[in-house]
């Protein structure tokens, strides 16, 4: 009987001593952590994408609580979610306009021609190591899907050798912007659907030769715009989204269909109607 009691007592004694030690240690070295951090992390969408500039959702929440400010917004969170967090923290929610990624190209198979066959690695950067362009237009989307690979939200797909972006799924995390070797992905406010789908800065004749739907810099859109929101520089129209009121007059007047309403109707050139 004693043989079984002795080890029991020894182990029990050790357990008692170490648990007492641990108890005092935990009291002495207690790190006070703000319980609000955990709550904020729970409220965030939890994509852990790092698009806010911090190492992840935890780091973002720590920073927000530490500074008691939501100046850097979580680009993935919806307006409601940001509002909830700001209510909880008792501070103003940042100027969180939802941005989405938008492709400045409409160089589909029908609109421009492929100039070469490619049998290499399916990646835009791999392609740019061999040549600058694979379509007649040197600015066009390569259509090999580096952005599709990098998108964590499954919001992009390749169709007709250009990228199609699902505005519903896009959270505006901006990861795709840097993944594009042609620099033709840009961020725009989610509601502002009028987009110049061209990035060609060549003169009109060259651009038109390269692609049927290229911006030729004809200035018609600039003249028709009543809000001074569209300007042509280097033979390329650019929309100022702060001023654009979505009247779609530029869309109607564009002779080459280079201005499109995304996510809705597909426009046909004015003279063809």
């Amino acid at each position: 009987m004693f043989e079984i009691l002795l080890p029991g007592l020894i182990l029990g004694g050790f357990a008692l001593i170490s648990s007492t030690g641990l108890f005092f240690a935990s009291k002495k070295f207690y790190v006070e952590e703000d319980p609000r951090i955990e709550k904020v992390v729970d409220m965030l969408p939890g994509a852990n994408c790092g698009a806010c500039g911090f190492a992840g959702c935890q780091a973002y929440a720590e920073n927000a609580i530490h500074k008691m400010s939501l100046e850097t917004t979580c680009p993935v969170a919806t307006e409601e979610e940001m509002f909830q967090i700001s209510e909880f923290m008792g501070v103003d929610s940042g100027s969180g306009i939802k941005m989405v990624s938008s492709l400045m190209c409409n160089g589909t198979d029908a609109n421009t021609q492929h100039i070469a066959e490619y049998h290499g690695i399916e990646d835009c950067w791999a392609y740019t190591l061999i040549a600058d362009a694979n379509k007649a237009c040197a600015f066009a989307c390569l259509g090999l899907g580096s952005c599709v690979t990098v998108c964590p939200f499954d919001a992009m797909k390749i169709e007709n050798s250009i990228v199609i972006i699902d505005e519903e799924k896009c959270t505006g995390c901006t990861l795709c912007i840097d993944s594009c070797p042609k620099y033709i992905l840009h961020m725009r406010p989610a509601g502002k659907t009028v987009t110049v789908t061209c990035f060609n800065t060549d003169n009109g004749a060259m651009a038109k030769k390269a692609c049927n739907v290229a911006c030729i810099g004809c200035m018609k859109c600039e003249k028709v715009c009543e809000d001074d929101a569209i300007h042509v520089n280097d033979f390329l129209a650019k929309i100022d989204y702060d001023k654009c009121t979505l009247c779609e007059k530029c869309v109607d007047v564009c002779p080459t269909d280079a201005i499109q309403v995304m996510g809705g109707r597909v426009h046909v050139a004015a003279e063809n109607v």
Binding site: A126, L129, A138
Partner: protein
């Protein structure tokens, strides 16, 4: 074991296919339009000085170098500048090109070359700086393929003494024979060019490295260099990439260029044979670099040639004189099959670094799927730089480049030996080039 010198690690022996080796250098006709790329070198882009509708003379500067690591571009013919356009070069990159309408369309280029007068030059009368600036003005770049400005290579910093000059006549790429023909037909000119370069480094010993599959070139160069004691000819084992700068240095001197280092770190300067002839031309004919010998070969070409065309000749101008059927072209390579680039446009111009143009039809082309690595280790065996190629590509594919593998990736010379032997058709060089690109972007 062969007694010929070679490098220790790796290497392959692809079929040589040097069918055009017995074709003497000929001269082509001047096309209707020349499209001269303004950036044909590695380094800072040039500044275009040619003006629209202005008349230019042969040898006039079209684009000026903008810094030390930059190179002039000259007009090869008399003519009128029509316009400046953007156009894809043979390498695929889009560059500004000066379009010139030549004055003597259809004339043989030989007549124009022969019109240059030969000057007797006393090399002893030149100072080192004068020699370098003359090479700089002539727009001479490394004609082996990379196009690095020659005067930069010839100006090592004072703390790196040079004790060996190597002339690269290995020409290890299949199909190409332009350097081979130069060594046969212009051996005396080449020796005079070597004497100019030797003057720069106080008569250091010079070795001309030639692969042993060109015994006639070895013989002709040995005869031409006989009067000079410190110029020797070294026959090398036939092994690709014998003509790689670092491999050639190891073969001839036994020295190994350190990782991330340059040949000057081991006291060596390497120049291509075609570059040496260009240096000779610049001094004895006062002729800037505006033309080069190009091998025209491939299974679509009726009559294989080593031919001189003025720089800027579009590829399409070659179809009629060489019996090439435009409709049948499936693959056009600028350079050799190992390191050359597939061209994108049949209108792309010939440049300073176009050592060969290879035309192939469907029979020579096969699209292959990339398969998973079977871990045979062939790529590691053949890598002349001793890199763990298979592992590196997996690291790059997973986008998980560590500091140590970064060094390895940057050491790759992109010779293509690994892709050549891979039984799984993996695009090993392509992956490594993506890796280099990722590292460059991180910086």
């Amino acid at each position: 074991m062969s007694l010929l010198k070679t490098f220790n690690r790796g290497g392959i022996h692809p079929p040589e296919e040097k069918h055009s080796a017995n074709e003497p250098i000929t001269y082509g006709t001047i096309p209707v339009q020349l499209m001269i790329p303004v950036n044909q070198h590695i380094g800072k882009p040039t500044e275009v000085v040619a003006e629209r509708r202005a008349a230019v003379k042969r040898g006039e500067i079209l684009a000026k170098s903008t810094g030390f690591v930059s190179s002039n571009v000259h007009s090869p013919v008399d003519g009128v500048v029509q316009k400046i356009v953007k156009f894809p070069l043979l390498g695929g990159q889009i560059s500004d090109c000066v379009v010139i309408k030549p004055a003597n369309i259809g004339e043989n280029f030989k007549d124009i070359i022969d019109a240059d007068t030969l000057n007797e030059v006393n090399i002893e009368g030149f100072s080192k700086d004068e020699i370098k600036s003359k090479i700089d003005e002539a727009g001479i770049v490394g004609m082996g393929g990379a196009g690095f400005p020659t005067h930069v290579k010839l100006s090592p910093p004072a703390e790196k003494p040079i004790d060996q000059l190597i002339i690269n006549g290995a020409e290890c790429e299949p199909y190409i024979t332009s350097d081979h023909r130069l060594m046969l037909q212009k051996s005396d000119e080449m020796v005079k060019g070597i004497r100019i370069l030797q003057k720069l480094f106080d008569d250091i010993p010079v070795t001309i490295g030639i692969e042993n599959n060109k015994p006639d070139a070895v013989k002709s160069m040995t005869e031409a260099t006989a009067p000079y004691k410190n110029i020797t000819v070294q026959a090398l084992q036939v092994k690709y990439p014998q003509g790689g700068e670092k491999q050639l240095i190891e073969s001839i001197t036994g020295r190994e260029v350190p990782s991330k280092g340059l040949p000057m770190d081991v006291g060596v300067v390497v120049q291509n044979v075609a570059t040496v002839v260009a240096v000779y031309d610049a001094f004895y004919y006062k002729r800037p670099l505006t033309e080069r010998v190009t091998t025209i070969s491939g299974n679509l070409v009726d009559k294989l040639v080593n031919i001189v065309y003025p720089m800027g000749t579009p590829v399409s101008h070659l179809f009629e004189p060489h019996g090439i059927d435009r409709e049948k072209i499936r693959l056009l390579l600028g350079g050799g099959p190992m390191m050359g680039r597939t061209a994108f446009s049949l209108e792309s111009p010939i440049g300073k670094t176009t050592s060969a143009l290879l035309f192939f039809d469907d029979s020579a082309y096969e699209a292959r799927e990339e398969n998973p690595c079977i871990r045979c280790g062939n790529c590691i065996d053949v890598c002349p730089m001793g890199l763990p190629v298979a592992q590196l590509t997996e690291i790059i594919q997973a986008n998980n480049i560590s500091t140590s593998s970064k060094e390895d990736i940057l050491d790759c010379i992109e010779c293509g030996s690994c892709s050549y032997v891979c039984p799984a058709d993996r695009r090993l060089v392509e992956w490594i080039r993506i890796g280099k690109n990722i590292i460059r972007r991180e910086k």
